[in-house]
Amino acid sequence: MERFDQINPRVIYLLLAVFLVFPVLKPIGMPISIDPQLTQPVFNWIEGLKPGDIVIFDVAYGGGSDSELGPQLKAWFYHCMRKGVKVVGVAQWDTGAPLAYTAVKEVVAVLESKGISAKEGTDWAYVGYKAGGATVFRAMQDDFWKACGNTDWNQKNFSQSPLLAQVKKWDKATIKGFICYSAGSPGIPTYTTYFPDQDLYVGDVAVQVAGTSNLLRAGQVKGILAGLAGAAQYEKLVGVPGLGVKLMDAQSLGHLVVILLVVLGNVGYRLKMRAGKKRAA
């Protein structure tokens, strides 16, 4: 039992790999409950909007965080299209801009197969990454078209999009809230600094939720989708289980493995200390 104090890291990695892969291949189907303080407000925001209202999502993540934030974006976008809420997408990270477009197009294909309207340019538009940093985002407040150079992700002029024709500036009358999918910097501070009076929701990687909770507590952020768990909860709320729900079993077992290893390590440590004291005595 003392050997548990010195488990080889390779064994730890192998154990974790098995417990992560197994539930993906054979789902267990553990029930997912909705967090009333974090996830529910995000759902209520979209649910409370009227068809035709415009919201903005911002991509502030890269390839590494796509596994957590991609499912969040997809579930949220599906919800918006189903509700008839119009969506405009921008990106603070150049590395994440193509990811979000790909994710949105995947959801569009699903929506169209279900007969839900999701026409680019009319129901949603994607502007993508515009160089200039947070100050350019601030300029979008006053003149969205000029700040973006009048071109969207596909190099089409804004005037060709009926949706973007309505979005001349980012004021409260035009935009009914933002959601920032953030994995680092730049990200949430752009909105808390330059858009303090707008409703801000956050899709966050799990590691940052502890820090973003402060903003939630202060009222600067209205709701948080917390990592993959947040994605799974939102998918459940929307009624379209996807990657989030699928991987929650794996996350549960992964956490259990870590807890088990920590307990075993402590048992081995205690026994080793006791044996050491006995030998000394």
Partner: protein, 279 residues
């Protein structure tokens, strides 16, 4: 004149505060705070440079760990590695990093221990090279300086992290210093250091990564201990004066928070501290 006409008129713009400042919350307080900070920083630095009395900076517990780690590396005949994922030349954590870099480089030079520095920003790397070269000169060993040991790895986060991990696996340093502001690569670097058995000291100002450093490193300095530690090791009056100014502003903040909390309990409707802060 009919009332409907008045209702149709646009709202009058909010007048500026005190005639000049933006009519937005927190603006005047922010300007006043910024100006006071600048004045305080200037005064404290002047006093420190002139040798006048300023409050002393206490010894940060993690500082001894630096010399302990370098001593261990020297005994084992293995190199020392230091790294920082600095996002730009003007970042505050980069300046603190440079103080630690000069301190560690000088110690390594005097012990004849190989010192490897890696960076993810080529502009910062240029300054790193100059700092390390200067440190070797001050230690009286300019010929021991190897420019190739102060390397720019890659600008991309994980490309840089992978480069550092590869370097750790090849060079197997006995000591690793992780100083600055880190993102997701923090745990990768720390665990890679653990796997090769290096003693690790972290001084990080990134709140999200501090738990990982605490779990994976032997010694961790958190938050503003990075800046205080930089002041302590460099003994540079500029850095010392800045840290003292920071501490004075910190006490002022504590006083405001405490006063505001008490008044909010006693008289929540007329909390003048909140009103001042939001002005």
């Amino acid at each position: 004149m009919s009332l409907e006409f008045l209702l149709a008129a646009p709202a009058a713009p909010t007048p500026p505060k005190w005639g000049v400042f933006l009519p937005l919350p927190n603006v005047v307080f922010a300007v006043v705070w910024a100006v006071i900070t600048m004045i305080l920083v200037y005064v404290m630095i002047r006093r420190a440079k002139a040798g006048q009395w300023i409050p002393e900076i206490r010894k940060i517990p993690g500082i001894d760990a630096f010399s302990e780690a370098i001593g261990r590396a020297t005994e084992m005949g293995k190199p020392v590695h230091m790294t920082d994922y600095s996002t730009s030349l003007g970042d505050d954590s980069t300046f603190a990093y440079w103080s630690f870099l000069a301190y560690i480089a000088k110690m390594c030079a005097s012990y004849d221990t190989r010192f490897i520095v890696t960076d993810a920003n080529y502009l910062v790397n240029v300054v790193n090279q100059e700092i390390v070269k200067q440190a070797y000169l001050e230690a009286g060993k300019p010929e021991a300086y190897v420019q190739d040991d102060v390397r720019f790895i890659a600008g991309s986060q994980f490309a840089w992290a992978m480069g550092v991990v590869g370097l750790l696996a090849r060079e197997k340093p006995a000591a690793q210093f992780l100083v600055g502001f880190f993102y997701a690569e923090a745990l990768i670097l720390a665990e890679a250091g653990n796997l090769i058995g290096a003693i690790q000291v972290a001084a990080a100002s990134s709140p999200a990564q501090i738990p990982f450093f605490v779990a994976a490193c032997d010694y961790t300095m958190i938050g503003e201990e990075l800046y205080a530690g930089a002041a302590y090791v460099s003994k540079d009056p500029v850095v010392t004066g800045t840290v003292v100014a920071q501490d004075i502003m910190r006490f002022a903040l504590y006083a405001i928070i405490l006063l505001g909390a008490i008044i909010d309990v006693v008289s929540p409707k007329t909390n003048f501290v909140k009103t001042v802060l939001k002005f």
